[in-house]
């Protein structure tokens, strides 16, 4: 049995040989960080005079206090610099503590001594923790004293410091145990460093590789919910906990337990490897001969595949456009790295250059695995791209078009008022029940795209191959799994439009995609925690709206939404936009994501269309309705420019024909007439009120009519540009300058304008 005094004597003896690590740790944690904290305090205090000049003594004191508290929360709390130094000290401590295992001399000495292996491990392990923990706690106390001395040690700072300290201890253990494991698996310090890099980065590399190959080769892969961030990494766990603390001011128990379990698990594994480690491993490359082939293959395969994708990028291989052109280079790069990588690792194993050609079977296995993985992605052996679940397998689903209805505000937010992306919003709040239609849409689109994909890229022509817009589909399967896929839908295809009308016309879609329709927005409005500002406008004119009117309009809009469908939105241009600004005042001392902010605001834009008849009636009744894009009374005159592109083409053709060139020469493109000197543009100016009014009724700003909108609906006529010149006394001049540029929607050009600006030769 080990007596307490004998244990302490051993602990002390072990520490004598680790003095420089103690000194390093003390210098960083007890000197550098407190000095940094003092410098930060001093920097903030130096700004006191200018704050006092600008805002007065009282306000300046409050500002400085808030800034000090914020700064100390960061310094004493989840500081990235502290995380990095903690990791550094954990690695140094582990390597230094167990480095005796690298030397046969030391192994002979220590293992020959009458000290239990387990006891020796425990002494070194415990000292390795104390080396960080004792200076860390003392340093934290010094920093806390500095903060207290400057009146910046309040509940927030203390809570932040304690939470961060607890997380950093677990983080330290996670990194420390990983480093010990690296020592146990290797026989010298250089290989240990490589091993450590592999242990920390392997999952990240594999995840990146999977994402990279998926997005490179697969048509319907989406990166949503896919992340390179490793699950089994103390760094990513620390980051998640830190981020969670910034948002919630509490530590997520799940993540905390995850980090603790990781530290414990890796520690147990490291200890197991220590007990199994043979003494002759000292100085060799790898401790356990049995792991060598597996490790070689596990390193060579991802390295080769990464080389392949780098080569593909270097030669601009684009498998979705041309699956074969450039593939040879990619395969060559993969095979080259298989051979070189296997050879290099074997050289490291054997410490002999001749080792490069040994163990060819392992090289072959690596090559075969690379080939299999490459083929799995390149030829979609798993059927990823053609997969659509059977409707009876699906509980519910979400369908999220990319960049659809862009004018709907800059944020989506959840019921706690946190900003989320449109996809995350749909993920949480869209539960489509008509999964059969969605699955049919997916099947129809996948089959349709497969037929045109190659031609679509080679010869881009929407008339011939269709207009393919991207969306994401999230299938929530009955077995509990959730599968997210990209989908390309041909919005010009009638059958697709019918599917889209049913999917996007459903209440669940609107609830989960359009914040204006959502109960989340209603909940925020009803919470009373937000100040609301509302306006209605058409990008030029904006009318402030009372909160009551806005809420009433929103309620009416929800009733009207029943009439909205994909086709109706596609075939219409918004009449105007209801904009809601929700603001929340934050207490001055409260920080948001580590930064002091007094308020935070969300914007919600709701497009109002002519088919929203009840909305139209309400707007008219309340006087918000704007019949035209601009009021003729504000307009001095309008100039319309017609490019007359068809006439220009005809002129070029005519000139080519009149040139004295043979048919063969013309076919060979010897006459390169780009018509640069031909100008067919025609201009017409209108200043009479009735003309201005007529033009105003069919002119739109580009923000309202996006030619590349997801639904490929109403487009601006590219032939015309409408320059609207405001009256000098108009309010518009002050807001937009002398003029603004508009366009005509296709098919809505007034006849008189078309006539006035038509091309006439000799003009």
């Amino acid at each position: 049995m080990t007596s307490k005094s004998s244990f302490l004597v051993n602990l002390k003896e072990n520490n004598k040989r680790r003095l420089w690590v103690w000194v390093l740790s003390a210098l960083i944690l007890m000197l550098a960080f407190p000095v940094l904290a003092a410098m930060t305090v001093s920097q903030i205090r130096n700004g006191a005079n200018s704050w006092a000049d600008s805002y007065g003594q009282e306000a300046a004191r409050a500002i400085i206090h808030a800034r000090l508290v914020g700064a100390m929360s960061r310094e004493l709390g989840f500081s990235t610099l502290k995380m990095l130094t903690t990791a550094l000290l954990a690695i140094v401590s582990a390597l230094q503590g167990f480095s005796w295992l690298y030397s046969r001399k030391k192994v002979d000495f220590y293992m020959g001594m009458p000290v239990k292996r387990k006891k020796r491990f425990f002494i070194i392990w415990l000292n390795g923790i104390l080396i960080w923990l004792v200076p860390a706690l003392l340093g934290l106390m010094i920093e806390a004293l500095i903060a207290a001395g400057n009146g910046a040690l309040d509940k927030t700072v203390i809570l932040s410091a304690l939470a961060a300290c607890a997380v950093r201890l677990l983080f330290y253990l996670g990194v420390y145990h990983t480093a010990i494991l690296a020592v146990m698996l290797t026989g010298n310090v250089i290989i240990t460093c490589f091993g450590l890099a592999v242990l920390f980065l392997y999952e990240y590399a594999v995840r990146s590789l999977r994402m990279g190959y998926s997005s490179f080769f697969l048509d319907f892969y989406t990166g949503y919910r896919a992340s390179e961030a490793p699950l089994l990494s103390p760094f990513s766990m620390y980051m998640k906990l830190a981020e969670g603390f910034h948002y919630e001011n509490t530590l997520a128990p799940g993540h905390l337990a995850g980090l603790a379990a990781f530290a414990l698990g890796v520690g147990a594994l490291a200890f197991f490897c220590y007990l199994k480690r043979p003494a002759e491993a000292a100085g060799s490359s790898m401790t356990f001969a049995v792991t060598r082939p597996a490790i070689k293959i596990l390193l060579t395969v991802p390295a080769s595949l990464i080389a392949g994708i780098l080569m593909a990028q270097a030669v601009n291989y684009q498998p979705k456009m041309d699956p074969d052109k450039g593939m040879g280079y990619m395969i060559f790069a993969i095979l080259l790295v298989v051979v070189l990588g296997s050879g290099l690792i074997q050289v490291i194993y054997e410490f002999d250059i001749k080792g490069a050609v040994h163990r060819k079977r392992e090289m072959l296995v690596s090559g075969a695995l690379c080939a299999l993985i490459f083929a799995a992605f390149r030829y979609d052996l798993t059927g990823f791209d053609s997969w659509v679940p059977a409707p009876e397998q699906v509980e519910s689903a979400a369908f999220v078009p990319d960049n659809y209805e862009e004018n709907r505000g800059d944020t989506c937010f959840d019921q706690e008022g946190r900003s989320v992306s449109a996809m995350e919003y749909a993920d949480r709040y869209m539960y489509l029940r008509d999964v059969e239609t969605l699955c049919d849409l997916a099947r129809h689109s996948i089959d349709g795209y497969e037929q045109v994909a190659e031609n679509y890229f080679k010869d881009y022509d929407e008339e011939k191959w269709g207009s393919w817009s991207t969306a994401k589909v999230l299938y929530r399967l009955k077995n509990g799994k959730q599968v997210c896929r990209k989908l390309l839908v041909n919005v010009n295809d009638e059958e697709t439009v019918a599917f889209l009308d049913r999917v996007m016309g459903s209440g669940e879609f609107k609830e989960g995609y359009m914040p204006g329709a959502s109960t989340q927005l209603q909940a925020l409005l009803e919470s009373g925690e937000y100040q609301v500002r509302a306006s209605y406008g058409n990008m030029v004119y904006n009318e402030d709206m009372s909160r009551e009117d806005a809420e009433r309009l929103l309620a009416i809009y929800r009733e009207d939404l029943e009439a909205a469908s994909f086709s109706r939105i596609r075939d219409n241009i918004p009449e105007g936009v209801l904009r809601l600004q929700l603001s929340q005042d934050l207490p001055q001392s409260e920080s948001y994501r580590g930064y002091e902010r007094a308020t935070r605001s969300w914007y919600v834009d709701v497009n109002i269309y002519s088919f929203n008849e009840k909305c139209m009636d309400f707007l008219k009744e309340k006087g918000y309705y704007m019949e035209y894009q601009f009021d003729p009374e504000d307009i001095s005159y309008i100039q319309v420019m017609n490019r007359n592109s068809q006439a220009a083409r005809e002129l070029i053709e005519k000139r080519q024909q009149s040139a004295d060139l043979s048919v063969e020469e013309q076919a060979a493109g010897m006459l390169m007439d780009d018509g640069e000197d031909i100008d067919t543009r025609s201009y017409a100016e209108y200043s009479r009120p009735e003309e201005i009014q007529q033009i105003a009724s069919c002119s739109y700003p580009e923000d309202f009519v996006d030619n590349w909108d997801w639904d490929r609906g109403k487009k601006l006529d590219g032939e015309y540009r409408v320059y609207v010149y405001f009256r000098a006394e108009s309010d518009l001049t002050r807001r937009f300058g002398t003029s603004a540029v508009y366009g005509f929607a296709q098919g809505e050009v007034p006849d008189f304008v078309a006539k006035d600006t038509a091309w006439r030769s000799g003009k």
Binding site: K16, R104, V107, D108, F109, M111, M113, P114, R117, E280
Partner: protein, 301 residues
């Protein structure tokens, strides 16, 4: 007593020690001889509990040795290149060893240091190679361990130091029954220290004998017989291991005690007769030649 029974150990598939069985009795100085790569260090490292045998059993005073503290307190292992802590001096080593060997003789340690002229305050990394070996031996002797395992420790020590160490060994053997086990590739290094020798070759034990037994049981005789009859009579009566004839001079290596051999020679007429002492080297050559090995090649190169 240290017992190795059918012990086997290999590195990367190559057998370093193959089915070795050796018994090391107490109160003797055991010499473990073998060429480089014969497995001497592996045997010592296994006895010291540094390596775990793949098969077979090693016991120290009937206790298995690997990770057994009770058994290991009876052992002190001095590796071929002894390790001392970085920047330490003899005092630091003493303090550490006092912590792990409860019976460490502190007073003896400083006395020995003084006797050997080693400065206790001087950094060990400034010591010469020989001084480091002396310090390692002093540490081992003072540890209180009954078995002192020395791997090539005596190689390179000057004769005065060897004599000093030898006298320490003698007194410790007498005082507390210390049993040094000394591995060396050089027979001549061990001749004046060991009283039992084991010869290792290619991982196996060729022989293991008491040196005194070997010396008493083998005699070297130079003689010139008076007649051919005398020669044939004597030769047929003797257990001859080796017979070299240089003209009329017979150089015989004969198994048997000196008295027995003298008695046989008393029955024949000789012109010249001389019984010579055998060196350890000669004994080994004779013994191993009998079993078909050329020890000159094995050990002496």
């Amino acid at each position: 007593m240290i017992e190795m029974k059918n012990v086997t150990r290999s590195y990367d598939g190559v057998k370093a020690v193959d089915d070795v069985s050796v018994t090391i009795r107490e109160n003797t100085v055991f010499g473990l001889i073998g060429t480089n790569g014969a497995g001497k260090s592996t045997v010592l490292r296994m006895i010291a509990g540094v390596l775990r045998p793949e098969s077979g059993e090693i016991t120290v005073d009937n206790m298995p040795v690997f990770d057994n503290m009770k058994a290991k307190r009876n052992l002190y292992f001095i590796a071929d290149e002894p390790y001392f802590f970085a920047n330490c001096n003899a005092v630091d080593m003493q303090k550490y060893l006092t912590g792990v060997y409860p019976e460490f003789a502190v007073t003896d340690f400083y006395n020995y240091l003084m006797n050997f002229g080693l400065d206790k305050k001087r950094k060990v990394n400034t010591y010469s190679k020989g001084m480091k070996k002396q310090l390692a031996l002093i540490c081992g002797v003072c540890s209180g361990a009954r078995y002192l395992l020395c791997d090539e420790t005596f190689d390179g020590l000057d004769p005065v130091m060897r004599q000093g160490i030898k006298s320490i060994f003698a007194s410790e053997i007498e005082r507390r029954g210390m049993t040094p086990v000394i591995a060396s590739h050089n027979l001549r290094e061990l001749e004046d220290i060991c009283d039992h020798v084991g010869l290792l070759h290619k991982g196996g034990v060729l022989l293991s004998r008491d040196l005194e037994d070997m010396k008493c049981n083998i005699q070297k005789v130079q003689c010139v017989f008076k007649t051919a009859e005398d020669e044939s009579k004597a030769i047929s009566a003797l257990d001859i291991m080796k017979n070299e004839k240089r003209g009329s001079l017979n150089v015989l290596t004969v198994r048997g005690s000196k008295a027995e051999i003298l008695a046989i020679f008393a029955t024949v007429n000789t012109i010249f007769f001389e019984a010579l002492p055998l060196s350890l080297e000669e004994i080994f050559i004779s013994e191993t030649e009998v079993v078909g090995y050329d020890v000159k090649k094995l050990i002496l190169g």
